[in-house]
Symmetry: C2
Subunit: 219 residues, 2 copies
DNA sequence: ATATATTTTTAGATATGCCTAAATATACTA
DNA sequence: TAGTATATTTAGGCATATCTAAAAATATAT
């Protein structure tokens, strides 16, 4: 099945939205995710429906099919492998790789990806802690808990980040909250859900709810 | 200056045709090179003319401008660096890399290319012996003589290949005419321009004019 | 349950990049 | 140099992917 650039991006967006809550994905939600207009989404959904990567009935939202899920996972696999390459081999920082990987993920060559995977030593996680699907779309996600849900006194290791925008990642660099860092909750403020945490038993800081929701930990 | 995928491909084709003979490039020549129709070329030439990467007056052929030449060289730089990456790092054979590099050459990120160049150790030549332009479009081509022009008894080292199609490269692999191999002309047949050669003082074979024109040597 | 608000779709454009068929300009040749 | 062949351009379409504005369907709230 051959998908265009644009089709791959829509599919990926629908996959992500499916996982982030309801199975039913809305036209507006996709438009938001992709910074396009709802009218454009409607057009594309009809095309994706014909290709049987989603099931779509107008006004009824859209569901990704198994075929679509596997297609999306292949694009995600490529994206994450390229991110590993950029960080591990080309010495990019983790906040610089997303945009470039958005381009690289559309390169069509199964052999290239197999060789790249090998060259990188078959990594299982990308620089943001997200799991890399294998050739069959299989992956194992480690159990992840947002920092925001930790109880007072609770602790865990940073295993992934939800928001991968440069600004957020740069902030994490600044406070030293790298992947693998240990975070312990010292205090929680009920009124705004901010918390005081200590990173690697060294640095004590306050983080807002916005931040604590986007840091994922293993227990 | 931002060029589209298609614009970059046209520019590259025009650059190659400019170098391979006349400065004036023909509409049909470009159509041939890109496997498109002359009518499509005419459309594109008008666009490229507006962007000032070529000078074009209808029925008068087209010339690449300095701005266009530099643009083309950047695409060529990316193409050749990716080819080095594919062969040196991902263990592709030299006949497998062209198509993939055709895709990779359009990735937009100056920083990526700078880092890739560094990672590869600033290579000066690609896997087919072609020089890699630097960031300013500068490169030094070694003097190249087609095998077909060598006199009887003459010899040289394979420094590049003109035809980079998989079939030709596989043929060269088969006869052992890798980059760096020594070739000596043992006999020349005037009637069909075929020749008998010896490769690395070991293997004697006959090659047609078609082949000898596409093997480039240093003297 | 009816009115209002929101979401989604349709209709009609636009831009890119390609095509075929026909017209026109240039080149070649007798 | 006239006539033919070749090269090039124009005209009109098509597909993809986007948009705005308006219409239609669905959701919500009193």
């Amino acid at each position: 099945m051959i998908l265009s650039f644009a089709e791959e991006n829509y599919l990926k967006a629908i996959y992500h939205l499916s996982n982030a809550g309801a199975v039913e994905v809305s036209t507006n939600g996709i438009a938001d995710e992709l910074n396009t207009k709802p009218a454009s989404v409607t057009d594309m959904l009809r095309k994706l429906n014909v290709k049987e990567v989603v099931t779509y009935r107008k006004y009824q939202g859209v569901n990704i099919t198994e075929k679509g899920r596997l297609g999306a996972l292949q694009v995600i696999r490529k994206h994450r492998l390229w991110e590993v390459f950029l960080v591990e081999k080309l010495k990019f920082n983790w906040d610089e790789v997303h945009e470039i990987a958005e381009q690289l993920e559309h390169i069509k060559s199964p052999l290239l990806i197999r060789r790249l995977d090998e060259f990188l030593g078959n990594p299982k996680y990308d620089p943001h802690g997200d799991p890399i699907p294998d050739e069959h779309g299989e992956f194992k996600a480690k159990p992840q808990v947002p920092l925001s849900e930790l109880p007072l006194g609770g602790s865990g290791l940073v295993i992934a980040v939800k928001d991968t925008s440069p600004l957020f990642l740069q902030y994490l660099d600044k406070i030293g909250a790298y992947l693998g860092a240990k975070i312990k909750v010292l205090d929680k403020a009920a009124f705004d859900d901010s918390m005081e945490i200590i990173i690697d038993d060294k640095k004590t800081i306050f983080v807002s709810r916005e931040v604590s929701q986007n840091i994922l930990l293993t227990e």
